[in-house]
C-alpha cells in the first residue's frame, strides 16, 4: 500500500501520533517507520488519493505537533512513497544528510513574514517624495484626467516607483530581522505582498524577533502591514541548510 509521507525525524522523537488526523480518509492512523537512528511518519495512501483543502490543515497540524516536540524534516505536501520498503530505503540512502539536517534544525523554528502596503498611503508617500510625479498628477487632474495614453504613461511611471519602493521596503524588513536569524530565505511570491520571507531562528530568540516586528509595525502604521506566522516547521530550510554545509 502506498504511504503518504509527512516528515522524517530522529528515531528517539516522542512521536505523539495517536490523536492526529491523517491526510485522506477519516480514521486512517499515522505510523512511524524506523531505520536505525531515523524515523518517517506515514499513513496509508489509497490508490487515487486526491487531497482536499482540509488535508492541507491535517498535514500542517501533524507537522506542527511533531515539530513542537523535536526537530523534523517536513515533506512537501502531497508526497507519497510506493510502500514501507521504499520509505526505509530512503531513510537508509539519505541517513547522513537527514541526520545532519535534524542536528542543524534542532532548537530552531521558522517564522514567515509577509508585508503588504496600504495602497493609498504608498501612492501618497511616493507622490510626496517626488515633485515631478506630483506635478504630473496635478496636471492630469487639472485636465480632468487627461487622455488615456497620458494616463497610461503616468501610471507606468507610478508603477515603476511602486516597484522600487517595494524592493526598498523589503530590504529594510530583512535588514531588521536578519541579525536574529541563522538563515533567511525568500518564500514564493504572493500577490500584493512586497515581501514574503522566512527566517530560521533559534526558538529562544522568538521574543527578540517579536519585539523587532513590533517596532517595524509601529514604524509602518497606516502605511503597510506585516503578517507574521509561526513558529512553523522548517519548510523553507530543508534544502537551504544543506547548501550552507
Amino acid at each position: 500500500m502506498a504511504k503518504y509521507v509527512y516528515c522524517f525525524t530522529d528515531a528517539g522523537h516522542s512521536l505523539p501520533l495517536a490523536d492526529l488526523r491523517s491526510v485522506g480518509a477519516e480514521g486512517t492512523v499515522l505510523r512511524a517507520i524506523s531505520h536505525k537512528g531515523l524515523a518517517a511518519v506515514v499513513s496509508d495512501a489509497p490508490e487515487g488519493l486526491r487531497p482536499k483543502r482540509r488535508d492541507l490543515l491535517a498535514h500542517e497540524t501533524v507537522l506542527e505537533t511533531l515539530s513542537a516536540a523535536g526537530p523534523v524534516v517536513p515533506m512537501r505536501f502531497g508526497t507519497v512513497a510506493p510502500d514501507d520498503d521504499a520509505v526505509m530505503a530512503e531513510l537508509a540512502r539519505g541517513a547522513g544528510r537527514y541526520t545532519e539536517l535534524l542536528t542543524r534544525l534542532a532548537g530552531h523554528v521558522e517564522r514567515n513574514v509577509k508585508g503588504a502596503h496600504q495602497e493609498d498611503a504608498l501612492l501618497g508617500d511616493l507622490l510626496a517624495d517626488n515633485p515631478e510625479l506630483r506635478a504630473r498628477n496635478e496636471a492630469l487632474r487639472a485636465a480632468g484626467g487627461g487622455s488615456q495614453p497620458e494616463q497610461v504613461a503616468f501610471g507606468e511611471r507610478m508603477a515603476l516607483a511602486v516597484e522600487q519602493r517595494r524592493t526598498r521596503d523589503a530590504a529594510y524588513v530583512v535588514a531588521a530581522l536578519r541579525p536574529l536569524a541563522m538563515l533567511d530565505r525568500h518564500a514564493p511570491p504572493v500577490k500584493d505582498c512586497f515581501i514574503n520571507v522566512s527566517f530560521l531562528i533559534p526558538a529562544t530568540a522568538q521574543d527578540d524577533f517579536d519585539a523587532v516586528v513590533a517596532q517595524l509595525r509601529t514604524a509602518m502604521e497606516g502605511y503597510a502591514e506585516l503578517r507574521v506566522s509561526g513558529p512553523l516547521p522548517p519548510y523553507s530550510f530543508v534544502d537551504a541548510v544543506e547548501a550552507t554545509v
Binding site: 495512501a45 486526491r50 487531497p51 488535508d55 492541507l56 490543515l57 500542517e60 497540524t61 506542527e64 524534516v73 515533506m75 512537501r76 505536501f77 502531497g78 508526497t79 507519497v80 530512503e90 539519505g94 514567515n112 503588504a116 501612492l123 501618497g124 508617500d125 507622490l127 506630483r134 487632474r141 488615456q148 494616463q151 497610461v152 503616468f154 507610478m158 524592493t167 526598498r168 523589503a170 530590504a171 529594510y172 530583512v174 535588514a175 531588521a176 536578519r178 541579525p179 536574529l180 525568500h186 518564500a187 514564493p188 511570491p189 500577490k191 514574503n196 522566512s198 517579536d210 523587532v212 517595524l216 509595525r217 514604524a219 509602518m220 502605511y223 502591514e225 503578517r227 519548510y235 523553507s236
Partner: protein, 125 residues
C-alpha cells in the same frame, strides 16, 4: 495550533481560526518542504486554494490606468508624516550590532547600508 497571524496595528490578520491562519502558509506547504525524487507527488487537482494562483501580477495597461486613477483621486492636501521605516531600521540594526558585539546574537551583523545594498541589487533572491 501554534500558527497565528499576529494582529497588526493597521488592521488585518489576527489570531483567528486555524484555517484563516493556514492561508498565510499555504504556499510554504505546497512549494517548500523536502522533495524526494523517488517519491511521487499526488495530483492536487482536488484542491481549491485561494492563493496558489495568486502569483505576482505582471504590470499591464490596466495596472497603469488604475494607478493613474487612484493618484488622481488622492487627497494630498493634508500634512504628511514621513514614513519612519528607514529610521527605525537604522536603530534596530544598531541595537543588534551592539548585542552581537556582546555575544548575544549569532546572526550576521553588517552595516545597514551594505545589507540594504546587497538585498536591493540581488533582487528577491
Amino acid at each position: 495550533m501554534t500558527i497565528m497571524a499576529q494582529p497588526s496595528s493597521s488592521g488585518g490578520g489576527g489570531g483567528g481560526s486555524a484555517a484563516g491562519a493556514l492561508y498565510d502558509v499555504i504556499e510554504l506547504i505546497l512549494d517548500r518542504g523536502l522533495v524526494i525524487d523517488v517519491f511521487v507527488r499526488v495530483s492536487l487537482v482536488g484542491i481549491e486554494v485561494l492563493t496558489i494562483d495568486a502569483r505576482v501580477v505582471v504590470a499591464s495597461i490596466d495596472t497603469y490606468l488604475r494607478f493613474a486613477e487612484r493618484c488622481g483621486r488622492l487627497d494630498l492636501t493634508g500634512g504628511r508624516q514621513p514614513v519612519g521605516l528607514p529610521a527605525i531600521v537604522g536603530q534596530i540594526t544598531e541595537d543588534s550590532a551592539e548585542r552581537k558585539a556582546k555575544g548575544a546574537l549569532t546572526g550576521a551583523g553588517r552595516a545597514i547600508a551594505d545589507t540594504i545594498h546587497d538585498i536591493v541589487t540581488d533582487g528577491r533572491g
